[in-house]
Amino acid sequence: MKGWVYVVEEQRGLSAFVTIEPEIDRLFWLDAEFQMGIRTTVESVNRIGRRAGAIEGGEWIRSDEKSVGAVKDARKAGIRENGATGNEEVELYGGGGKTEANGEAAKNGITEMNAGQLWMVDSPLALGIAVRAADLWEERFGIGKVKAKERAAGQSGDSAVGKQGGFSDAANEIKQCVALAIKEADAGLERNDAAAAPITAAAAAVPIRHIQADRSPRGAAARTARRAEALAAAALAAAGAMQGRALLHSEAHALLAAAGASRPGGASWNAVLQLAALLGRLRLRSAIAVVAEPRRWGVLAQALGRPRRRCRCKRCGSGEARMRRTPCAACGRMCAYCEACIGMGRARECSLLLLGGAAAPLRRSSPLPQETRLRRWGLSPAQLEAAGQALACIEAPSPMTTSSKQPSSPLTTTQSPFPYSPQLLSPSITRSPYSWSKHPSKQTQRVFMLWAVTGAGKTEMIFPLIESVLLRGGRALVATPRRDVVLELDPRIRKAFPGAGVVTLYGGSEQRWEQGEITLATTHQLLRFEGSFELVIIDELDAFPFHGDPVLHYAADKVCALHGAKVLLTATPPAELRRDARRGRLPYARVPVRYHGHPLPVPVILRIPAIKEVLHNAKLPAKLVKVVLQSVERGAQLFLFVQRIRHVDPLVRLLRTLHTGIIIEGTSSQDPQRGDKVQRFRRREIRLLVTTTILERGVTVPRSDVFILDADEKLFDDASLIQMAGRAGRSADDPHGKVYFCSPSRSRSQASAIRQIMMMNRTADKKGYLINSRKGIFKWRF
């Protein structure tokens, strides 16, 4: 897609903007009637918003009208129109004086609209280049960069304000910036002569149009004002529907259509979106941004090294390595796209990314004390303690709210809806998969790890945390790596919070474009949000695909509001997080016992030959047969985990030769009937299920025993061994399930798994969480 870049003369100086609908910008800045219309709408919305804000009180359900009105009202007071600039946040926090100077207008959310003139590029540019040019302009010539005096001097030298005066520099400046942006873009391509050409020549070729203020024709004045009113109302509604989102252009259209947003007078969606951007509610960026090349040190290196363009995907944070450049028919250039997040729609350099602004800050106080709120959920003592710690952590004042930078005026106490300025975002992804600390939001977000054993009742423990955020008027997100878990969680959350709007998001979800207080989502869906949740709960953070995917880690950091909190749930934290926790870098709470108060079953090692050999000899080892038959007699459900899909069917055939009289089935990721087989296994129709690691987590089958074959092979690390062992003894009526590690040799991961399980049991014993504790029974058996 293409965009126009322009410089506009406001009261306080010049600013550069990018537009996708230049006509709207012309009217917005230069047409007095249009401005009047917008002012009317914004004022009336503010008035409604204030009233709604007053009513709101202690009630914690946030309705849609309020989120359009009250929340926005508070937020936008101090914010200048549009966010195409990078350094506006700094100004916002640094200078409260700016808004005061603008007096009455600032209170209405519209600061200086009466611009005198603007200089716009006459032909559209590729959007990436337009955005980059505007950024470059702000970097070099923005407010505070060039002294106002210099400009004023230029202006007074030639009193005929305009073409030859100081302000006509703006035309030259924007020409230069466009040429520079194009040069930067070309430099990233293969050896290109265009990159070597001096930019002055290229700059001269950029056509610029100078537009001055004029009034609508006399008869049309009233019509223009009415049109502006309707358009502004539509823009505000659209911005409300898109709050907290990070959407591509086509996704935004789909959302607005689904939300039933109006387009008054046949205006295009682009016009509505552009006006919302001008009103400061949306931010228009290119989906892939050019990151400024860090300065090479050394003259020689500078002379030899070709300038290179570094791209970064604004949606998933991927860097140059995941970019692919292809000729693009939409912008007519070699244009990069991001391969990392292509499954969620293609983000191109010339495609538009709409950022809907972050969530409003939370109310500080909750009406009820923590203990009362915790007690509501009927948690076990161990759960209660851990949940209490987590609650204390997320309700602690954020470093952000206590910072001295906060302006004091009641009208400006809100923070910017766009906390992720481009400068902050650039160095976000590093090579480490656990780059929590590298993200800029890390400085203000709080992270808490809830380390709870398998079957501890993690879901119940997150209820008080969600409630806390809802009480303070925030939004909560529960992200899990798997779709099945989302679907399973959905009814439980709805039951626990009947009054709250729950949105369930996964690939192909019906609720894709809805907003609610509680969002349940698969981790990939997080890419479509930005800064919108005060509480982000990540379930099973060590599971595929979340584990080891930097894109999803980036997404989890990004969706959490700057003043928000992130809670990590896991039974088997990866080594990095364990180390961080041990060293006190990561606050955490451990739940060492299951909800029923019985210890975890400790795995028993069974020395049998490798499964390959067993299948080759077509004879099951006597030891294995013995324990399998014992479990069958006990009336248990048997899980048999194997490593390879190709072992499943032969093993099923071999087991059937035992003639135990039970139904034996096998399943794997390539089995089309696997959902059905798992259901039958749960209903006890199938008694023995041979499976690969697909059933490693998230499956609760009462009265089950677990056999892990080839437990010494490297595909089973300690985390997955613990998870598989955690399938046994989950229900209160049969807490002592059996777990066997069957392997020809003892491996380090087996030893580690057993050690960790026993450690948890001992901790539980020590803390007195076990139901019938006999001190000292958990000795090392290794």
Binding site: R324, T326, C328, A329, A330, G343
Partner: protein
């Protein structure tokens, strides 16, 4: 221990680098990303019986991906290139093209591959699709040369035996066989939405490999909704008058035609043959798009054309 940690890490890393030097060269399958041995002969597959079908092997794909390609081995309908018996072509009276040939059957796997490329925009699949188009292109060229009895002048190398094998020979054959390659256009809206024209990319890839001239000869007059949602009758109705010739098309064809016969010596009067045009598209369903293009091309200049259609998939 904490002091030693970085050193140990370094040691571990350098160790794994050394180890990787000893390993055989594995690559990743371009499609499924699984690591695989680069295999170019079906005889070395785990399931060696695959070799008996004598199907082409795409070296960048792993065994299971290669086996899931639905190659069209036997062309049953000589007009539309279908692998099964075809009633459509008997009904057809006004075919503007002579044949269509397609590389693969459009089954669910092929559909998903094309969708990934075309709708999701995974442009890294492009060389793969061109690779898959190539065997059929070769087969088509060889067939045409033997049928039309085209003389291929072998180029003589001074110090080399007068035998050209493999790719070089194919290049000469292709150059002798095809006068120009063109493709089915897409509308401007579609182009800006999708970012590329898949037919153009396929045609350009093929033309580049064989050194053939390529030109855009057609324009789409109106923006239609996606063909894949329509029935046969709707498509036939919808594609009528859908294309016009590019303004420069007639001049271009004429110049190619005159160029071709300008070198004819006075001694041998070359028999003037019509221009052979290869029209490339991604998918052939009813042939209405190809037919409409062909009719437009025939009408745009006075030169007689022979149009052959090459598509990636036949549904």
């Amino acid at each position: 221990m904490a002091v030693l940690e970085p050193f140990l890490k370094q040691l571990k890393q350098s160790g794994s680098i050394m180890f990787s030097l000893l390993r055989p060269a594995y690559s990743n399958c371009r499609l499924c990303g699984r690591s695989m041995k680069p295999i170019v002969r079906a005889e070395t597959y785990a399931d060696a019986s695959y070799a008996r079908y004598q199907l082409p092997i795409i070296p960048e794909l792993c065994e299971s991906c290669n086996r899931s390609i639905a190659w069209i081995k036997d062309v049953r309908c000589l007009i539309c290139g279908r692998a099964v018996h075809c009633d459509d072509c008997i009904r057809r009276v006004d075919a503007g093209f002579i044949w269509n040939r397609s590389a693969v059957r459009y089954d669910s796997v092929m559909r998903s591959w094309l969708a990934n490329y075309k709708y999701q925009g995974q442009e890294h699949l492009e060389p793969l699709l061109i690779d898959m188009l190539e065997p059929m292109f070769k087969q088509m060229t060889t067939e045409l040369i033997s049928r039309l009895n085209i003389k291929v002048k072998p180029r003589r190398y001074k110090y080399m035996p007068d035998i050209l094998t493999g790719f070089d020979q194919m290049k000469h054959h292709a150059a002798a066989c095809w006068d120009i390659v063109t493709y089915v256009p897409i509308s401007e809206e579609r182009a800006s939405e999708r970012g590329f024209n898949q037919a153009q990319r396929l045609a350009a890839g093929l033309a580049r490999r064989y050194g053939l001239p390529i030109a855009s000869l057609l324009l789409r007059t109106r923006h239609t909704t996606r063909q894949s949602f329509k029935t046969r009758l709707e498509r036939l109705r919808d594609t009528r008058m859908l294309f016009t010739a590019e303004p420069a098309a007639a001049a271009l064809l004429t110049s190619i035609y005159t160029d071709k016969y300008s070198h004819a010596s006075t001694f041998f009067t070359l028999e003037k043959q019509p221009l052979r045009v290869l029209l490339v598209d991604d998918i052939y369903t009813t042939g209405s798009t190809a037919n409409s293009c062909a009719i437009t091309l025939h009408a745009c200049s006075g030169i007689t054309l022979e149009l052959y259609v090459l598509t990636w998939a036949r549904s």
